[in-house]
Structures are given as structure tokens and as C-alpha cells.
């Protein structure tokens, strides 16, 4: 199969400027899918990055993976996974979209900010759980798994904002 040439498919409907219809997601995992609309494909890349950011934020926060190593790891995985997806799996012709850099840039900063929020939330939850734990004071991951049923209600207890 030559790069970028695909069999014709009727173009999928898309909501305006960034939201995606359910039918688009059915194309996402098909390596032979045709991407007639460039914006549609870029939106898929964008939302994939956001999902990766949230998932990695949860994993990094729970492990915990701290410091700039964690941030560098996120950047590499985020860029690497999407690169493998569009380059090897879908075999997209990157030049049609302005090159590999344009595809890598798509939604990267927003996903980075989302990752920071996700990892901070989970790191904070980990700190709170390990502080409140009656059983373990070690890895928040172990604490989380063992103590969640008893600790979670205390975790969400609001003691007022003042």
C-alpha cells in the first residue's frame, strides 16, 4: 500500500470545530480507514493526547513517579505513542498534515496542562491517603488499594473553606 492512498469512503459527519461524532471513533482503530477530512484526523490526534494525559496522570500520581523524570516520561510517551499510531499503524502521509512536527504539536500543550492537573490531583490524593492510613505508610499505591473503602469517605469530608 503506498503512503496516503486509501480506498474511497463516504466522508463521516463531524460537528463544528473540534467535537467528534461517535462514527468517527469507529474509524480510529481501523488501520485501513480513509481520512478524507484533515481536521477530523487532527481532532482524533488531539483527543487521544488528552486521554493519554489523564491516564498517565493517574498512573504517575498513584505510583508515584515524581520529579522532572515523570514529566519527561510523559512527554516521551505522549509523543511516542501517537507517532507510532499515525506513522506505523495508520501509515498516514505526514507531509499532508504539515510534517511530523505539526502532528506532534497538535494538542500537546493542552494535554501537558491536563497531565499536570491529573498528576497533581492523584499525587495529592496519594499524600492524603498515606497520611490517613492506619495500616501502611509506604507507597500510596499499596495504601490506595488496601485502604480505599475506609479512607475514601474521610478523603472527601469537607471541613469548611475558612
Amino acid at each position: 500500500m503506498s503512503g496516503g492512498r486509501r480506498k474511497e469512503e463516504p466522508s463521516q459527519p463531524q460537528l463544528a470545530n473540534g467535537a467528534l461524532k461517535v462514527s468517527v471513533w469507529s474509524k480510529v482503530l481501523r488501520s485501513d480507514a480513509a481520512w478524507e477530512d484533515k481536521d477530523e484526523f487532527l481532532d482524533v490526534i488531539y483527543w487521544f493526547r488528552q486521554i493519554i494525559a489523564v491516564v498517565l496522570g493517574v498512573i504517575w500520581g498513584v505510583l508515584p513517579l515524581r520529579g522532572f523524570l515523570g514529566i519527561a516520561g510523559f512527554c516521551l510517551i505522549n509523543a511516542g505513542v501517537l507517532y507510532v499510531y499515525f506513522s506505523n499503524y495508520l501509515q498516514i502521509d505526514e507531509e499532508e498534515y504539515g510534517g511530523t512536527w505539526e502532528l506532534t504539536k497538535e494538542g500537546f500543550m493542552t494535554s501537558f496542562a491536563l497531565f499536570m492537573v491529573s498528576v497533581t490531583e492523584n499525587a495529592t490524593a496519594g499524600c492524603v491517603i498515606s497520611q490517613s492510613s492506619q495500616f501502611f505508610r509506604g507507597s500510596p499505591l499499596i495504601v490506595t488499594l488496601c485502604d480505599l473503602p475506609t479512607v475514601f469517605p474521610r478523603l472527601l469530608r469537607l471541613e469548611g473553606l475558612s
Binding site: 496542562a113 492537573v117 497533581t120 499525587a123 472527601l156
Partner: protein
């Protein structure tokens, strides 16, 4: 410590609400007006047309073709400028609302550690991340830093979900 997690969740919730509020204000003042709809459609049409023309143009293209492209670029620039002027109304309203809201939230969360960062921020960011916090633990996070991170991530996603983000072609030509 348990209130810290509740504060973290609350700040994410505040960020979502303020992003929705900003888009709501912009919709009321800008997005639903005929002038904005007309200008936006015009800008998107021209951007796509110009992008296609630039892709097909070659080095040896005639002077007339290049002049035509320059005229189209000028027209697009004028329309973009008009679009920005229309958006200015909502920007003032949002700025005014947010100044009041931020003042209120800053006083509520003043001096409170709202989250624990999983890393030590760079020194020039610590002024923001450790703002008005006691102690030397630089992994303590202040309200404003977490709010900025939340806004950076959540606002654009909300715009995309609601279909209110500008098209890529228009953004590219505007830059």
C-alpha cells in the same frame, strides 16, 4: 490534609464553571449575533481557499497569481481584524467578571496549601506556585497555580467539545 484533596477537586470544579461562564458570556454577547456568524463563515471560507491556493502555487507562478493571493490575504486580514473587534466586547465583560471572581477566590484560598505538586517547580515558577504560602516546602501548591493549570487544560477542551473553537485554517492564517 483531607481538606487539601477537597480543595483540589473544588478548584477543578471552579475552573470548569468559570470556563463555561466565559463561553456563556461570549455566546450571549458574540457568538449568537448575525455579524459574528457571517464574519466567521467568511473567514473560514477564505482561509481554506487561500490554503488550497498556496499549496498548488509553484515557484514559477505568474505575477498575477501572486498578486491575487496577496489581495486575498489582505481581505482575510481585514476580516480577521473585524472578527477580533466583535470579540472585544465579550473580552471586556469576561475580564471584569473574572477580576471580581479571582479577587474573591484569592481571599478564600489565601495562605492555603491546595495541592501537593509531584515535583519541585523551577525557581521562577515558585513565585506563582508558592504564592502567599508559609513554609519552605516548594511542593506546596497555591490556588492560583493550580487554577492556571486547570484553566489551560479545561478551557480549550470545553471550547472544542462545544464546537466553539476557531478552525485551524483560520488560526493558521491569522498567525
Amino acid at each position: 490534609m483531607s481538606t487539601m484533596f477537597a480543595d483540589t477537586l473544588l478548584i477543578v470544579f471552579i475552573s470548569v464553571c468559570t470556563a463555561l461562564l466565559a463561553e456563556g458570556i461570549t455566546w450571549v454577547l458574540v457568538y449568537r449575533t448575525d455579524k459574528y456568524k457571517r464574519l466567521k463563515a467568511e473567514v473560514e471560507k477564505q482561509s481554506k481557499k487561500l490554503e488550497k491556493k498556496k499549496e498548488t502555487i509553484t515557484e514559477s507562478a505568474g505575477r498575477q497569481q501572486k498578486k491575487k493571493i496577496e489581495r486575498q490575504e489582505e481581505k482575510l486580514k481585514n476580516n480577521n481584524r473585524d472578527l477580533s473587534m466583535v470579540r472585544m466586547k465579550s473580552m471586556f465583560a469576561i475580564g471584569f467578571c473574572f477580576t471580581a471572581l479571582m479577587g474573591m477566590f484569592n481571599s478564600i484560598f489565601d495562605g492555603r496549601v491546595v495541592a501537593k505538586l509531584p515535583f519541585t517547580p523551577l525557581s521562577y515558577i515558585q513565585g506563582l506556585s508558592h504564592r502567599n504560602l508559609l513554609g519552605d516546602d516548594t511542593t506546596d501548591c497555591s490556588f492560583i497555580f493550580l487554577y492556571i493549570l486547570c484553566t489551560m487544560s479545561i478551557r480549550q477542551n470545553i471550547q472544542k467539545i462545544l464546537g466553539l473553537a476557531p478552525s485551524r485554517a483560520a488560526t493558521k492564517q491569522a498567525n
